[in-house]
């Protein structure tokens, strides 16, 4: 029985990323950007959390029904289970809701929305007062 469990675990994908259909619309103007104040450990229930580094700069590249989609050039962002997917961050009302899987055009939700603390990169004049 133990051997069967081991075999099943090794021969097939033992950990999946939950993937939901997503409609991605690329941003053209009025894009938001921010710097992440603190590191974030985002869990998707796969056993492989995605870590986002403090100080990384994020720029909006689009939008889905799950929130605005942000990309960064400051670190590689992947979502990992048995397979690994390059991803972009999905944020709604200052909460990370999940990740947009770029190649698959799917949304991978986090187990629980995560509140993030950010600083705008180009603050509007009235926020500088």
């Amino acid at each position: 029985m133990v051997c069967v469990i081991f075999l099943a675990g090794c021969a097939f994908d033992i950990s999946y990323v939950k993937q939901l259909p997503a409609t991605f619309t690329a941003s053209t103007n009025n894009v938001e950007s921010f710097v992440l104040d603190r590191p974030v450990k985002a869990t998707l229930g796969t056993g492989f959390p995605t870590r986002l580094n403090a100080g990384t700069r994020w720029q909006q590249v689009g939008e889905t029904e799950y929130g605005k989609v942000f990309a960064t050039k400051d670190q590689v962002v992947t979502v990992e289970a048995s397979n690994i997917y390059e991803a972009q961050l999905v944020v709604s009302n200052q909460f990370i809701t999940g990740f947009y899987l770029i190649v698959e055009n799917k949304f991978a939700p986090v187990t629980r929305p995560i509140r993030i603390e950010t600083q705008p990169i180009n603050p509007k004049p009235d926020t500088l007062k």
């Binding site: 675990g9 021969a11 992947t78 048995s82 690994i84 390059e86 770029i102 190649v103």
Partner: protein
Amino acid sequence: MKKLFFLLLIVGSSALMTGCASGPKYSEMKASFPAVPQDNGRIFFYRTAVLGAAVQPAVTVNGKEIGTAQPEGFFYVDRPAGNYTVETSTEVERRLSLTLETNQTRYVRLNISMGFFIGHVYPELVDNMAGENEISDCHYTGSK
């Protein structure tokens, strides 16, 4: 008994050595890499781990075989900007999906993990700084 031990040691070491890549090092070749063709990006693949040296699966990009995961080896491919799936196959298949932009360089590390019968090699996208650092002592194996 002592002789047998040394004989096994020599045979074992030889087996390990023959499994490793032996071409020029990345650090030696770096200055002479050809320019990336127009509208293309470059993806480097490398494997630092000697562990599981006998396990050297083929590496495919979008289903086409482009190289082998040799210990301490590296190779690269130039591809037009777009979406790509990298796959290695041992007793299981492991996939990595990534994007490639024009003139972008990406590094994919071929890691080894425990398997039931044999080790699993899986591709992982790494930051360019880490990738360029880790690949420097790897030897060129050539791509297909």
